[in-house]
C-alpha cells in the first residue's frame, strides 16, 4: 500500500514537471532566450580554450578598429576586445548567479522563520526587512562598495546581502497561507519536528514563486554590477567586466570615435538581462496554477 502510493506520487511529480516544461516551451521568446543564454554560458565557460588571446595581455596596437585579426578591435592599451568580452560575460554571470544564491538563501530562511513562528520573531525580522528596504537601493550598494574594497567577491557579497528582503517577504507571505493548510496542520498534530515541517512540507510548495523571483534578482544583480563597475566602484581592472569595459566611454573621444569599445559590451548586457527576464516570464506563466488546467 505504502509503496503503491509512493509510486503514484512520483508519477504525479513527473507529470507536474513535464506539464511545466511543456508550458514553458509554449513561450517562444522564453525558449529563444533559454537557447541564447545557454550558448552564451557555454562560450563564457569555454573562453580560455576558444579565445586566441589572453584577456589581459597586450596583443596589438592601441585602439585599432575591428579587423580580421581582432574581430572587435583592441582597447586603449592594445588588448583584444572580443576576448575580454567573453571573460567579462563570465564575470557578469558569476555575479548574477552567486549573489542571487546568497540573497535567496538568506531570504528563504528569514521568510520561513518569520512566517511560521509569527509573533515577536516575525515582528523583529520584518522591521529589519523594512529597514533594509527603505534604504535607497543603489545608495546602500554604493556605500557598501566604498567601505569594503571594491572587487569581485565583495560585489557578490554586497549584492547578495542587499537583495534578500524581497525573497523574505515573498516566502513569508506564502508560509502564512500554507501554515493554515490541512497537510501542514496534520504535520503539527502528528508531532513532526518543526525542521521537517518547514523544509520538507512548506518549502517545496514555495519553490515555484521563489524560482520566478530569483530570475529577476539575477537580472537585477547583473545590471547593478554593470552600473557599479561603470562608476568605477565594482569589479576592478585589469579584470574585465561588462560594466568596466564601458567605463572608458565616459570620455568623449571614445564615445565619438571608438564605438567598438563601448557598443558591444552594452549590447551584450541588454541581451543578457533581456533573455533572463524573458526566461523568468516564461517560467512565471508555466508555474502559475491558474494556467495548469488549460
Amino acid at each position: 500500500m505504502a509503496k503503491h502510493s509512493k509510486q503514484t506520487l512520483e508519477e504525479q511529480n513527473r507529470s507536474y514537471l513535464s506539464t511545466i516544461g511543456r508550458r514553458f516551451m509554449r513561450h517562444k521568446l522564453g525558449v529563444i532566450s533559454l537557447y541564447f543564454l545557454c550558448t552564451l554560458l557555454l562560450l563564457a565557460l569555454l573562453a580560455p580554450w576558444i579565445t586566441p588571446y589572453a584577456p589581459n595581455k597586450l596583443v596589438g596596437k592601441f585602439s585599432s578598429p575591428p579587423s580580421a585579426q581582432f574581430l572587435l578591435g583592441t582597447d586603449q592599451v592594445g588588448r583584444d576586445v572580443l576576448t575580454r568580452l567573453l571573460y567579462a560575460t563570465r564575470i557578469s554571470l558569476l555575479v548574477g548567479f552567486a549573489s542571487t544564491a546568497i540573497a535567496t538563501a538568506i531570504g528563504v530562511v528569514l521568510g520561513l522563520v518569520s512566517g511560521y513562528f509569527g509573533g515577536w520573531v516575525d515582528m523583529i525580522i520584518m522591521r529589519f526587512t523594512d529597514m533594509v528596504m527603505s534604504f535607497p537601493y543603489i545608495l546602500l550598494v554604493l556605500v557598501a562598495a566604498a567601505i569594503f574594497q571594491p572587487g569581485l567577491w565583495n560585489i557578490i557579497l554586497i549584492l547578495g546581502f542587499v537583495d534578500w528582503p524581497g525573497v523574505a517577504r515573498l516566502v513569508r507571505g506564502n508560509v502564512l497561507s500554507l501554515r493554515e493548510t490541512a497537510f501542514v496542520q496534520a504535520d503539527v498534530v502528528a508531532g513532526m519536528p518543526t525542521r521537517h515541517t518547514l523544509f520538507s512540507e512548506i518549502l517545496p510548495n514555495t519553490i515555484a514563486p521563489i524560482l520566478v523571483y530569483a530570475t529577476s534578482v539575477v537580472a537585477l544583480s547583473i545590471l547593478d554590477e554593470a552600473a557599479l563597475s561603470f562608476l568605477g566602484m565594482g569589479v576592478q581592472p585589469p579584470t574585465a567586466s561588462l560594466g568596466n569595459m564601458l567605463n572608458g566611454a565616459q570620455s568623449i573621444t571614445i564615445l565619438t570615435t571608438k564605438a567598438w569599445l563601448w557598443v558591444p559590451p552594452g549590447v551584450l548586457i541588454i541581451l543578457l538581462v533581456l533573455s533572463i527576464n524573458f526566461i523568468g516570464d516564461a517560467l512565471r506563466d508555466a508555474v502559475d496554477p491558474r494556467n495548469i488546467r488549460q
Binding site: I147, A227, T256
Partner: protein, 315 residues
Amino acid sequence: MMRYIIKRILIAIPVLIGITMLDYLIMSLAGSPLAMMQGPRVSQAAVEAKALQLGLTQPIYIQYFTWLGQLLHGNWGYSIKTYQPVWEMISQNLGPTLLLVGVSLILGFVIAVPAGVYSATHQYTKGDYAAVTLSFLGTSIPSFFLSLILVYVFTVVLGWLPSGGMTTLGTGGDFWDVVRHMLMPTAVLTASFAGSNIRYIRSSMLEILQQDYLRTAKAKGIGRFLTINKHAMRNALLPIITVISMQIPMLIGGAVVVEQVFSWPGLGLLTMTAIMNRDYPVIMGVSLLSGLIVLLGNLLADILYAVVDPTIQLK
C-alpha cells in the same frame, strides 16, 4: 483613522532610529574621513588636531549620540569637506532631483497606465506583445548605456541637446534652457519606470478582468468602455498605489547613475561625491532623509488604500 495614523508614526520612529544606527555603524567600518586628508604636506599633528576637533577620537556610540542630539535640535551637522551645513547642501540639491525624478515618475505612469490597460484588455494580440516586449526592454537596458546612446545621438551626431548640467554656463538658465538639459536624463529614467510599471499594471489588470463582478458588469450590458473604465480601473487603483509607494524611494536615490552621467546637480551627485570623500555627516543626512521619505510613502499608501477601497478597515 487618526488613531491609526498616530500608531503608524509611533511604529515608524524606532525603525527610523534603527536606520540611522545601522548607517552609523556601517560608516564607522569605512575608516576615518581623515584618511583622505593625509598626504606628504599634511603633518600628523594636524590630522590629530582635526580628529579631536571633529570628535572622531571618541567611541563610536558617543559620536552617534552627539549626532542624534544635535539632530533633535534641528542641526544636521556640517560637511567635513566643504564645512557647509548639511541641511543647506541637501536643500540645494533636493530641488533638481525632485524635478528630474518627479517628472520622470509622472511620465512613467502617463505612459504605463494606458499601455498596461490596453495590453491586458487585448491579451495575446500584437499590441500586447509589443507593449510587453517594450516594457522588458525598458527594464533590461542599463540606464548608463541608454544615457551614452542618447548623448551619442543627440549631442555628438545631431548636436541638438547639451550633454550635461542643468543650465547653460554663464546664463541664468531660463525655463526652456532647463527643459533642454532635462530631456535626456528624463527620457532615460522614464524608460525604466514605464518599463516596470507596464508589466505590473498589466498583470494586476489581468487578474481583475477575471473577477466575478466584472462578469456581472459585462452581463448588465453597460458596454466595454464603462466596464473597463469604471469597474476595472477603480479596482486597479490599488495595485497602482502599491507601485507608487514602491517607487517613492527612487525620489532620493533613484537617479544616482543618471545624475552622474549627465552631471545633474542633484542629491545623487551630492551623495556620490560624499561617498568618495567619506563625508559622513552628508551621507548620514541623505540616508536619514531617504528613510523618512520611504516611511512616509508607506504610510501614505496605506491611507490611500483605505480611501480607494472601502472594504479595507484601518485599525
